[in-house]
């Protein structure tokens, strides 16, 4: 099968593209040189026989875990051998080795080591960092408990200081306090950074981090007082030993509390940290990664669905003619092209947040935290918005592949189950939306009291100027040109302003009725989430539009402009109620918008395959028979199926055990 020529349909599609996919790839990578380097790193992994293995779809969970541990160990060695140290390059290498899946050392590399660097004292770094760097210590980060996730203050694990022995006594006092979910905790790690409520001198001082040894060095057996294991099978994450940890009067020396900021003195005196805004920085960074991940996961799903739709022929469009590619059906285009546009939009948003974070992280190190609250609020909402959208989009891509999408050989089920927990981890999405809403309402209140606000919410300033007018903000007509992205940004802005204002007013009305702030907030939360969504949607349309002017190649810019228009108009057509109710668009304009969406589908159709080729996923990384670059789908589905575990023997043992005896009896 390796020598099969490229499927004729895909060859035709590629020949008909109006732009060069490589140019677009360079934009996504951040320059031709970055693309070159990424491919170089990819080649290091692909050409390395140590990283080859059987298709993971055919392995049991235990086997998948074992493969992942094997590859992770090799990966750490090879990264150092090749001298790859740039975080982004490490990320490429890792996602290539593990093909976009999680791996058991994720938490060690991504949380344990960085936390030591940022929160450990120099003395603690001496004791733990080098052993951890050399993997004598493998650690994880144990925060989430069975009973509490996003709401951190509710965590129940306790660390009680005993001045007599200068130790902390760690306990899991209830079933709900058992640490639950941390990756690498179940089987891999011998240490964990445990978050616990600190008690000293009879007082609770809130959550703090402690370095806790959990398994015996040498035998890897759990230490006395420690109960640790794997939490069982999940939707995805088969490679990851998400674990539980229960501690019974487990003692650690005082020096194991991470004490760069807060401290407990030998006599038990507690010393407060200076600022707690610093943790914002890490959260912003991780959430920006999730936005990027939303883009990548959705891009992978789009690549598979669009290539397959160009290869699959079905039914008839015109009587008597050969069966058309399913990508020629309007309903199929309508399912896939808006998602393709969304994937590009999210790429640009992810890049924007990353750059902004890098830009201001210098300020953060110098103690200037002024830009952090807005960025923190914005990334919370964008994390939720993009992960929800991508989650639904991946499923739509799978559905668009019909029955074969349901087979694991399509690769989409795997993308979905790997991606979907990001709606929950690093902050449950609804809670994230409400965090953004809190910032929006605060900004609105500032504007109402005559102050100016800056940044992405500055559109709220316009509200005060219109305050003299009785009707909704946006009712002061924005003239919307539906073929001009800049004009559409204004329409989205008006919608966001209207929904933020409506939510803030409803909140105020509830406050006027009721006694408690919390009650009023809860009774307005559906409106508040809508306002946050509208705000995020505006930000995305704005960033996508802004990106267009940075594209120098005319052919690429033209096709990106079409996608940007599709993204913006499709979003309007799916939320016409908001635009109509606020008077931003008329009935006639809404009809034009839905019509224009359909025209754009036809305009984008010839470039669809080239647009997914530009994402530049290697077949090995894509992991999909339906999405293969060469389009030889059916032959390879057959080859793949033959390797299925049920096919290991010609006659399955169930025949002898059950079928034959039954036939004899009846």
């Amino acid at each position: 099968a390796a020598t099969m020529p490229m499927n004729a349909d895909l060859r035709r599609e590629r020949a008909a593209a109006t732009f060069q996919p490589e140019l677009l790839t360079h934009i996504l990578d951040g320059g031709a040189e970055r693309t070159r380097r990424r491919k170089e790193i990819e080649a290091l992994v692909i050409n390395d026989p140590d990283f080859h293995h059987e298709d993971l779809n055919f392995l049991s969970r235990s086997q998948r875990y074992e493969q992942a541990v094997r590859k992770s160990s090799l990966m750490v060695m090879k990264l150092r051998e090749y001298g790859i140290a740039d975080p982004e390059e490490i990320y490429w290498f890792k996602s290539f080795v593990h093909r976009g899946r999680p791996e058991p050392l994720d938490l060690h590399l991504g949380m344990f080591l960085p936390t030591l660097l940022t929160q450990a004292t120099p003395e603690q770094q001496d004791r733990f960092f080098m052993p951890a760097w050399n993997l004598e210590i493998i650690g994880t980060y144990a925060q989430t408990e069975m009973g509490h996730g996003t709401h951190l203050r509710g965590l129940e694990t306790t660390a009680t200081y005993d001045p007599a022995t200068q130790e902390f006594i760690l306990n899991s006092p209830t079933v709900t306090s058992i640490k639950w979910w941390p990756g690498g905790l179940g089987k891999t790690s011998n240490h964990a950074i445990v978050l616990a409520q600190l008690y000293t001198q009879g007082q609770c001082k809130g959550l703090h981090a402690f370095i806790v040894p959990i398994r015996q060095l040498g035998t890897h057996e759990p230490l006395p007082g420690i109960t640790v294991g794997d939490i069982g099978p999940k939707f995805g994450y088969d490679e990851m030993d998400n674990g539980y940890l229960k501690m019974d009067n487990f003692r650690i020396p005082r020096e194991n509390m991470l004490m760069k900021y807060a401290k407990v003195e030998p006599d038990g005196t507690y010393v407060k940290p200076l600022s707690d805004k610093l943790t914002y920085g890490t959260m912003v960074f991780i959430r920006s990664l999730i936005v990027g991940d939303s883009a990548r996961s959705l891009s992978r799903a789009c690549t598979i669905a669009i290539r397959y739709s160009a290869v699959r022929h079905q039914s008839e469009l015109k009587p008597g003619e050969p069966e058309p590619q399913i990508l020629d059906y309007q309903t199929q285009q309508y399912k896939l092209f808006p998602l393709l546009a969304t994937a590009y939009a999210f790429h640009f948003v992810g890049a924007y947040i990353k750059n902004t974070y890098h830009r201001i992280s210098g300020d953060i190190n110098e103690g200037d935290l002024s830009e952090l609250p807005e960025l923190h609020a914005l990334t919370a909402g964008l994390k939720a918005f993009t992960s929800w959208t991508a989650n639904a989009g991946i499923e739509e891509c799978r559905m668009a592949c019909g029955g074969h999408g349901y087979s694991r050989c399509s690769g989409i089920p795997d993308i979905y189950v790997t991606f979907t927990p990001s709606c929950t981890y690093e902050g449950e999405n609804t809670v994230m939306m409400l965090q953004t809403a809190r910032f929006l309402v605060k900004s609105y209140t500032q504007v109402s009291s005559g102050q100016q606000v800056t940044g992405m919410v500055s559109y709220l300033n316009e509200l005060s100027r219109q305050r003299i007018q009785p009707q909704h903000v946006a009712a002061r007509a924005v003239t919307v040109w539906i073929n001009d992205p800049v004009s559409l940004v204004e329409a989205y802005k008006a919608r966001a302003a209207r929904l933020v204002e409506a939510a803030a007013k409803n909140l105020q009305a509830e406050l006027n009725h009721r006694k408690s702030k919390e009650d009023a907030w809860n009774r307005t939360s559906v409106d508040l989430v809508r306002a946050s969504e509208a705000h995020c949607h505006y930000v995305i349309v704005k960033l996508f539009t802004a990106k267009l002017s940075e594209i120098s190649n005319a052919a690429v810019r033209a096709v990106m402009t079409e996608l940007c228009l599709l993204y913006a108009l499709y979003g309007i057509s799916k939320n016409t109620g908001d635009f109509l109710q606020a008077g931003i668009l008329t009935d006639a304009q809404v009809t034009q918008v839905t019509q224009r969406v359909k025209e754009l589908l036809a305009v984008i159709r010839p470039n669809a395959v080239a647009l997914v080729d530009s994402f530049d996923f290697h077949d090995v990384h894509l992991g999909s028979v339906l999405g293969r670059y060469d389009g030889n789908v059916y032959e390879n589905m057959f080859e793949w199926a033959k390797k299925s575990p049920l096919n290991k023997t010609e006659v399955h043992e169930s025949f002898h055990k059950h079928l034959k005896p039954m036939q004899a009896k009846l």
Partner: protein, 659 residues
């Protein structure tokens, strides 16, 4: 003991849970029979699903075969028969976790498509399990579009046989259940060729495995198609045939026959057959679609009153997550949808039973309408329920992601229903075709089938609601749905007409309108569902609080639909912006009202803990203990993984030298 957070929810029910259960079952006697079946199945250890989440594909398959074999014995023991009142509850009690479902389709297709002689030959063998059947229609290259199938059956007049072939890779049969490992025979759909002429797709009985040693027959290549998102217990298979010969008598020939001299004869009407296929789409709704949604609601809602997170009021204990408006807004509309679709399912069953009686009297007038119903509702209900189950899954946060919650497997199972028995988009467009035709007829003053007479009564005007309470009137919202459906159908029809008049070819015009047409078909089904829910509520008994709570659910279902599709209602100003704010207010008020009865409403679905098989959703609400206990049973905790000795140990030691 029951978790007090769950117990307290049950003390305040506004209605009788037991009476509602009986209502859902269709009577007290039905409830009794159902419970007896569930009890008999669940008390038998062979049918246990206890370790299901830990099993491999091979183990799941073997268990399903074991259960299927044991079920024969059990039925005999219990005196259950295929025509008895217990039968329909068996599959539900097993949660579908059993093999040989395609064996039943094999038998049904022979009963429907075979001659009396063929039935007499094959049905007894199948009943006695002297052979195991499957049904091979879908191919690698073709699914819903049957005319495109590529398998061939060429009549050889000299030997009086059909020669079956898989001429190319895309013609390989792919997906049929029970075919990968179990089946000895299958009904193969192939393009029939007689003397060089193609007569289209016909069914043939083909033996694929030896009845002695189960090895593949000569010319047959068959196997399992590999891992899927779910249905690990089913050996969906592939089948390739190379000059496989079957006797002339193996073509199912009730309606079409090839005579010994090669003459092709068509006889009788295929309409009954066509009707049977249509019925399948409706009959799958109950077990494959509604049950998973009801289970998902049960799990998510019970868990949401046990899970406490964050504080609503300072100083108080943490709040149940179901007390958060955003959580109610996720779950309660799905609960309302489960009830709405339960009632539309009752309505459709009744409609099809009536249709069947008509058809037996050779009256085929209702067929197009029934076909439109089955296509449209299959698509609308499966799509709606699939996303509803996913919402339940995600509403359970991290723990929903554990297989032990039961939600991932409910989701991966229900989502297949959007594809099998007809891909949903294709089905919606079939309904749209019917609607457009009826709309044209109605506009021309011609009579139309009863379900679409509303198309003729297009009334201009505006929604008369004056305050938010008006939107709790079924007349007001049903009217709004009707108006919206008419508008979408008529504007799709107008667009289609415009294009055709401007010279666009008919099929091109159709393709250019398909997005709009699919939306119109959905709107029609949504309208009928709301209307039926409101009418059902009218007829419910007023005693025991049932009518009242069902009225709330009906209101919620209707207003949620308007709230989440506000644009289509606002579009022509039928509902004004001010009225839309009233809809939103009423909708949000209802959430708080239904919140109080949420747990009793899922209790009424009456699922046993064993059938839920969920650490989060059990009746006693002991969520965390169960999660911990179940996790410890995981093989990852019981068996020593070689990963430590092989990889971790070397990694943890000797490391510094290498790094």
């Amino acid at each position: 003991s029951v978790n007090p957070d769950l117990a307290s929810e049950r003390q305040t029910a506004s209605f009788s849970v037991e009476k509602l259960t009986a209502q859902l079952d269709g009577g007290v006697e039905q409830t009794r029979i159902r419970r007896a079946v569930v009890e008999a199945i669940e008390s038998d250890p062979v049918f246990s699903r206890e370790n299901q989440y830990f099993q491999s594909q091979n183990e799941r398959y073997e268990a399903a075969v074991r259960k299927a074999v044991h079920l024969q014995k059990k039925m005999h023991e219990m005196g259950w028969t295929e025509n008895g009142p217990e039968f329909k509850y068996i599959y539900r009690a097993l949660s579908g976790d059993v093999a040989f479902l395609l064996h039943r389709i094999f038998m049904r297709s022979i009963s429907v498509l075979g001659s009396d002689k063929q039935i007499a030959k094959w049905i007894p063998l199948a009943t006695q399990y002297q052979l195991i059947g499957s049904y091979a229609q879908t191919e690698l290259g073709h699914g819903t579009y049957l005319q495109g199938l590529e398998t061939t059956a060429v009549f050889d007049i000299t030997t009086q046989e059909f020669i079956l072939n898989t001429p190319k890779i895309s013609a390989m049969k792919w997906w049929p259940g029970d075919m990968g490992r179990s089946a000895t025979h299958t009904v193969v759909f192939a393009q029939l060729y007689v003397q060089g002429k193609c007569y289209g797709v016909h069914p043939f009985i083909v033996q694929i495995r030896s009845l002695q040693d189960h090895s593949l027959c000569p010319g047959i290549t068959a196997g399992d198609i590999g891992p899927k998102m779910n249905f690990e217990h089913i050996d969906n298979g592939y089948l390739m045939m190379q000059n496989v010969r079957v006797p002339r008598e193996n073509m199912l020939n009730k309606f079409c026959e090839v005579q010994p001299d090669g003459t092709y004869v068509r006889r009788g009407s295929q309409k009954i057959n066509y009707f049977t296929m249509t019925t399948v789409r409706i009959s799958l709704l109950s077990d494959e679609v509604l049950t998973p949604l009801m289970k998902a609601c049960t799990i998510a809602i019970r868990y949401s009153v046990v899970r406490r997170q964050s504080k609503l009021k300072p100083g108080e204990e943490e709040a149940k997550i179901l007390d958060y408006q955003t959580q109610q807004e996720k779950l309660l509309p799905q609960l309302a949808a489960a009830y709405a679709f339960h009632f539309i399912n009752d309505y459709l069953q009744e409609l099809f039973n009536r249709g069947y009686r008509e058809i037996q009297r050779k009256n085929f007038d209702t067929l197009p309408e029934l076909h439109a119903f089955s296509s449209g509702f299959k698509a609308m209900v499966t799509q709606h329920c699939t996303s509803a189950v996913e919402i339940c899954l995600r509403a359970c946060g991290g723990h929903g992601y554990s297989l032990l919650s039961g939600l991932p497997s409910l989701y991966t199972k229900i989502l297949a229903s959007c594809i099998y028995e007809g891909e949903n988009t294709v089905l919606l467009l079939q309904t749209a075709r019917f609607l457009i035709k009826c709309f044209m007829a109605a506009s021309a003053g011609q009579p139309v089938p009863p379900s679409v007479t509303y198309l003729a009564a297009v009334k201009p005007g505006k929604c008369p609601a004056k305050n938010k309470l008006d939107f709790l009137s079924p007349d007001i919202y049903t009217e709004a749905y009707q108006h919206m459906a008419v508008r979408l159908i008529s504007s799709a029809a107008a667009k289609l007409q415009d294009l055709i008049q401007s010279g666009v070819k008919k099929h091109d015009a159709w393709n250019q309108c398909t997005v709009q047409l699919a939306q119109a078909a959905k709107a029609h089904c949504h309208y009928i569902t709301v209307k039926n829910f409101a009418e059902t509520v009218e007829k419910l008994e007023t005693k025991a609080g049932i009518q009242k709570i069902m009225k709330h659910l009906c209101d919620l279902f209707a207003l949620h639909g308007i709230f989440s599709n506000s644009g289509v209602f606002l579009h022509d100003g039928y509902i004004s912006g001010v009225q839309m704010d009233m809809v939103t207010a009423s909708y949000l008020d209802l959430l708080a009202v239904i919140r109080k009865d949420a747990v009793p409403l899922v209790d009424a679905f009456d699922f046993t803990d064993k059938s839920l098989n969920s650490a989060l959703g059990s009746y006693d609400g002991q969520v965390y203990h169960r999660l911990y206990e179940w996790a410890q049973k995981s093989p990852t905790n019981k068996q020593m993984s070689p990963a430590y000795e092989r990889y971790l140990k070397p990694l943890l030691h000797n490391r510094p030298s290498k790094l």
